[in-house]
């Protein structure tokens, strides 16, 4: 009670200093916030507004929800959506399992030339998207190496039309994305595996657990958060799939490999440009990413 004056002056002083400090803090926040608003939020809002407009090129008019209604009766969009989900459901699980498999192999303490193998598997995802897509296109061409190889092994008798058969073209795209992104996911698992205590495996071994049991009862549960993370990243990546489809099959034959992103490109640049509807389709990707990520968190996520 008797020292009431002292805290008062002290707090006054510190309030002034706090404000001064805060100004500097605010300055830092301001710059970052301005940058983010400028380059993220502003385009996002503009795109949202654009998605309620329609018309050719620069002649845009507000049409309300018409674009969103049009989505449901647009067979090309539905084909693109179906194709993208086929990629998602087939490719992501294959890739995650492969990446897990490779990471466990390459984490083996007795393995020699570990660095070399790790680099070799990681390398595809730092190559240029376009360059690798073009190479895949030639590999899978009618006169390409894949056909030659399969024919030499007498697996097939006639060259397969990898790129112009609707089913095989999808396989080609899936092979291409798997080749490219498996190493990327593997790196996440490898780094996570470094944090798994070796003594757990030793204890398991002493208890008589087989390699399989060690994998399923130790490795997989320990990597669960990382598996969740990579599957979300891969889902987002697949929903945005563009380069491979554009460069290998150009969406064909007859829209058989068309992805949503490729459809957005077509709507903007191939057909008479309708940027409004293209923006609507883009927002579908945003909505799907949010929904699928939430779903994955619910299914596989921790409770925290």
């Amino acid at each position: 009670m008797k020292r009431t004056g002292l805290p008062y002056t002290a707090s006054k002083k510190s309030l002034g200093r706090r404000l001064k400090n805060n100004y500097i803090g605010w300055l830092f926040i301001l710059i970052a916030a301005a940058g983010i608003s400028l380059f993220y939020f502003y385009p996002m809002i503009r795109a949202l507004l654009l998605s309620f407009q329609s018309g050719m090129g620069a002649n845009l008019q507000y049409v309300g929800l018409e674009n969103y209604i049009r989505l449901f009766s647009d067979p090309t969009f539905i084909t693109a959506l179906t194709n993208t989900f086929i990629y998602l459901l087939v490719q992501v699980p294959i890739m995650i399992v492969l990446a897990l498999f490779f990471s466990v192999l390459l984490n083996d303490a007795t393995l020699k030339f570990k660095g070399f193998f790790r680099t070799a598997i990681f390398l595809p995802c730092v190559t240029s998207l376009v360059a690798y897509a073009v190479i895949f296109k030639y590999l899978f061409g009618v006169d390409g190496l894949i056909n030659k190889f399969l024919m030499d092994l007498s697996i097939i008798s006639e060259p397969l039309n990898w790129l112009s058969d609707p089913f095989l073209a999808k396989i080609t795209i899936i092979a291409a994305i798997t080749w490219r992104w498996t190493g990327y996911n593997m790196i996440f698992y490898l780094s996570a595996l470094q944090n798994v205590d070796r003594s757990m495996y030793e204890a398991a071994k002493i208890d008589g657990a087989s390699s399989f049991q060690q994998f399923f009862y130790i490795t997989v549960p320990m990597l669960k958060p990382i598996i969740l993370f990579t599957s979300i990243i891969s889902t987002i990546g697949t929903l945005q799939l563009f380069d491979e489809v554009m460069n290998i099959t150009n969406g064909g034959p007859g829209n058989a490999t068309l992805s949503i992103s490729m459809y957005i490109y077509n709507l903007s640049f191939e057909y008479s440009p309708d940027f409004g509807y293209a923006a609507t389709v883009s927002y579908v990707i945003v909505i799907l990413v949010v929904l699928l990520s939430l779903l994955q968190f619910k299914v596989a996520g921790d409770d925290k």
């Binding site: 916030a33 939020f41 809002i45 090129g57 647009d74 009618v142 112009s164 969406g251 007859g254 008479s272």
Partner: protein, 431 residues
């Protein structure tokens, strides 16, 4: 708590301010830049295909007597389309070229999508000098925006040696129908083992060639009404396409370079294509003297002619500083210079649609690569027969729908249903 509240409000205000500032910037750009600005020293031109369009522009630059600093920039056609669309729709004309080459089938979509972006150049040349089928797609509302260039006239390029081996002469290929072509193709395949044609299942350009020869298109004459389901020429074209696939003489390709390789390597016997393919055929020197050109096959319908158009293109001037200079340049070269056109056909093999040039000597010149045939004279003769059609705005959108339905048709779906479904889809998609 209060402080936190402040923080939020501050951030919100900041965002709003940033947005307003940006919105202000962007609208300034849109209104300000198209007509102001100084005359540039340099005129830029965008085009594709170094053997053909770029070479033609280079030649025009040399033929132009005025002092003009012209920079010719090579871009793939897709890139040009993309850059024009992004640039023009942003409202800012910065970085746009003065002169740009646009494919005829796409022209209307640009002219109508970006009303003030192009500069009418009808005063710089006489439109009567050009083929009528080129004027419709290059003009809008009575104003001439494009200077017609590449005719896109088609011909049936064929390997004389392969055809001879199978027992056919040029007469057998002249003025035939696609049905007859398919029969010859089966024979050639049986006797020589060579494929007759190379096709990209993703590119239905050959359908366009077929239907235009009968004066038909994917849309009716108004350029808007979708015309697929009761389109007799299109039906025939679909049947021919399927017959070719089933005759097993199609070498599939999936892009331009594979397409070129298909005939440069000697794997296919014929190339039915626009005349712009000639320089690419001639690029393979070892096959000199082994090629000739016959008129393109026609559809087996009354009124169909052995002449069509594939991928013709024209020059456009953008409505930005330097437009007068650019238009004068085009008018003085591609628009009126007969002597230049003579050089153009001799040096580049590029055939423009400028009618007075056809009387020149160079048009009669014999081409040794094509077995001494007066290729240019033949092409310009066929050019006059090409039926004029209104391409409208949606060639590529409709073609993607057709490509998907073509897959169904090849798998056995009934043709009537195929076209009816395509019609329904196109109608719902294109309003």
């Amino acid at each position: 708590m209060k402080f936190l509240h402040w923080k939020k409000t501050g951030l919100f205000l900041l965002t709003v301010v940033a947005l307003l500032a940006l919105a202000a910037c962007s609208s300034d750009d849109a209104s300000g830049s198209s007509d102001t600005g100084e005359e540039p020293d340099k005129i830029t031109a965008w085009a594709w295909d170094p053997n053909f369009n770029i070479a033609a522009l280079e030649l025009a630059k040399d033929a132009y007597e005025e002092d003009l600093d012209l920079e010719i920039i090579e871009n793939a056609q897709d890139d040009i389309v993309q850059k024009l669309n992004t640039g023009l729709s942003s409202g800012s004309m910065k970085g746009m070229p003065n002169i740009v080459l646009i494919e005829d089938q796409r022209a209307q979509s640009f002219l109508q999508s970006y009303p003030d972006a192009f500069y009418p150049i009808g005063d710089y040349f006489n439109t009567d000098d050009f083929a009528p089928y080129k004027l419709a797609p290059t003009s809008l509302d009575g104003k001439q925006y494009g200077l017609p260039f590449d005719t896109g006239v088609t011909g049936l390029f064929f390997r004389t040696d392969y055809l001879e081996e199978a027992g056919y002469t040029k007469e057998d290929l002249t003025d035939i129908t696609w049905e007859e072509y398919i029969e010859i193709g089966k024979d050639v395949k049986a006797k020589t083992g060579k494929d007759m044609i190379s096709l990209d299942p993703n590119d239905l350009g050959i359908l366009r060639v077929m239907i235009q020869s009968a004066g038909s298109w994917y849309v009716e004459d108004d350029g808007k009404t979708v015309n697929l389901v009761d389109n007799e020429p299109l039906k025939k074209a679909f049947e021919n396409y399927k017959a070719m696939i089933e005759a097993d003489f199609v070498k599939a390709n999936s892009d331009w370079s594979q397409f070129i390789a298909a005939f440069n390597s000697g794997d296919v016997a014929t190339v039915p294509s626009g005349n712009w393919i000639a320089p690419s055929i001639e690029a393979e020197a070892s096959q000199a003297g082994k090629w000739e050109v016959a008129p393109i096959p026609r559809l087996d319908l009354d009124g169909a002619v052995n002449a069509s158009n594939q991928g013709g293109s024209s020059f456009y001037v953008l409505n930005i500083p330097g437009k007068e200079k650019a238009a004068e340049f085009l008018g003085a070269t591609f628009g009126s210079n007969e002597a230049f056109y003579q050089d153009l056909v001799l040096d580049v093999g590029a055939l423009g649609t400028y009618a007075p040039a056809a009387d020149g000597e160079a048009y009669q010149a014999e081409n040794d690569y094509f077995s001494g045939q007066s290729v240019i004279a033949d092409f310009s003769e066929w050019t006059e027969e090409i039926p004029s059609v209104n391409y409208g705005l949606h060639t590529y959108a409709i073609e993607d729908i057709l490509a998907a339905e073509m897959q169904n048709y090849l798998k056995g779906k009934d043709l009537e249903a195929v076209l009816a479904d395509a019609q329904a889809q196109a109608e719902s998609q294109l309003k």
